[in-house]
Amino acid sequence: MSESPVPTARGVAVSLEKVRKVYEPNRIVVEGMDLQVNAGEFLAILGPSGCGKSTLLRIIARLLEPDSGTLSITPDNPFQTAYVFQDAHLLPWRSVLDNAALPLELMGIDRTAREAKARAALALVGLMDTESLYPAQLSGGMKMRVSLARALATEPRLLLLDEPFAALDEVNRFHLDVALRQLWQWHGMTVIFVTHSISEAAFLANRAVVLTRRKCQIKLDRQLDLPLERYASFRTDPALAAEISHLLEAMEEE
């Protein structure tokens, strides 16, 4: 993989134009979606359950073809996108290290190189000395960390996360939020983070988009006016509370 010369410009820009997705029979899930995500942005997508957030994310990951409209990613290179699911979804027959190295293995990278990268990714998410364990031996929080490491091992320029920490208890969730925010600051990849949680969106993102229940329309697109450095203490910051109430207002009106 080619390393970008400027570390802060690692992210890619994503642009959706008039994207439409219809599931049979005649269930319009996404219609007329226009969304521009800048390179290196941390975008949170909020919306009620079933409004089409996962569908949107899968379209951006090219796991799903839109029925019409265009998706463009600039620059557009292979293997630059990583996807993190709601649950860890590890391969239970593989060790932690082999799970983290799986994407690199599928990309055809040789064992020594991929294990080195996987180890580095595991260290980033705070998992040392667990590489030979199996998923069945891990706690929920640890599994999610492995899942995150698996996504980071390829040094993605676009990181898509679909309610990644929703299944965790709050303490674990808060820890991983802070870790994710730091990773983004270090690596400068573009992050699109889908969540149900307004406070999580405000804590993490630089920009938040709120979607409507029907047809996945954007009803609020807001630049969050918050500091760059956000640690655990920031959770009780009045500025954060103000942003949360803004987003909450948008979520509530229908």
């Binding site: 292979p78 293997f79 996807y83 699911f85 979804h89 239970p92 027959w93 799986l102 990309m107 199996y134």
Partner: protein
């Protein structure tokens, strides 16, 4: 080891009680010994006819194992083929189901016509009876692969063959082994049925002893057939334990 023995004891208890009860019932003349022989008489029959019975057991084992091996290989191959597309499944799966409903006792004479008297007919009979659970369980396993993991493999450009071998197949392993456990017992039944008509082995021992009113010998042969079925079950369970213990809930301790 001590725990193992203690684990077996509860299962042995009913057997000991039952043997004791029949033994005393027959001795007291409550049950006619030509209908239900005393356990001691069965033991006697086993001892006296040991050369004949062990020879027959060997023949039946050979045929059952060969039939079982064939249905393992063919069943998995057929399931992989069926899993290739919905259309293929719709076209061929009904025949697999139909195949299962054909009573083997009715087609055994046909098998004799095709394969002649002897081992080949018996193997064919064991095969016919035991293949369906392998197909059905393998197919279910392959088709129920976690969609998120399929997405992950697609994201990193894995080919269908690679996805089959690195994801679908290992993910289906617990179900495949369940199918094999069922198939093992059925292969023994199939072999015995085949031997009734087409061959030697325990099936023909039972058949001949029946015409001679030697109920004790019938019981001795049936006992050996059950032991064979149990041994096959144990074999698959051992393989299952060795392959799954590290990752699957069904085989993990405590």
């Amino acid at each position: 080891m001590k725990r193992r023995l203690l684990g077996i004891f509860p299962a042995l208890l009913p057997l000991i009680v039952l043997c004791g009860a029949t033994e005393s019932a027959v001795r007291m003349g409550l049950v006619k010994s030509y209908l239900l022989p005393a356990p001691s008489a069965i033991a006697q029959a086993l001892l006296v006819n040991r050369v004949e019975l062990l020879g027959a057991l060997w023949k039946t084992s050979e045929a059952a194992l060969a039939g079982f091996a064939l249905s393992t290989v063919a069943g998995i191959a057929i399931a992989v083929f069926l899993s290739s597309s919905k259309a293929v499944q719709r076209a061929f799966y009904p025949y697999a189901v139909f195949f299962q409903t054909v009573p083997v006792i009715a087609i055994a004479p046909l098998l004799v016509i095709w394969f002649g008297y002897g081992l080949r007919t018996v193997i064919a009979s064991a095969f016919v009876v035991s293949i369906f659970p392998v197909i059905a369980n393998t197919l279910t396993g392959i088709l129920s692969t976690d969609p998120a993991l399929r997405d992950l493999f697609q994201l990193y450009g894995a080919s269908p063959a690679r996805t089959l071998f690195q994801l679908r197949f290992p993910a289906a392993l617990p179900q495949i082994l369940t199918g094999l456990r069922i198939a093992g017992g059925l292969a023994v039944i199939g072999a015995i049925v085949g031997e009734f008509i087409g061959g030697q082995g325990l099936g023909s021992v039972v058949d001949v002893a029946r015409t001679q009113q030697r109920v004790d010998k019938v019981f001795a042969a049936v006992l050996l057939a059950s032991v064979l079925g149990l041994a096959l079950f144990g074999l698959v369970s051992a393989v299952s334990w060795m392959t799954l213990r590290r990752w699957h809930a069904s085989e993990s301790r405590d």
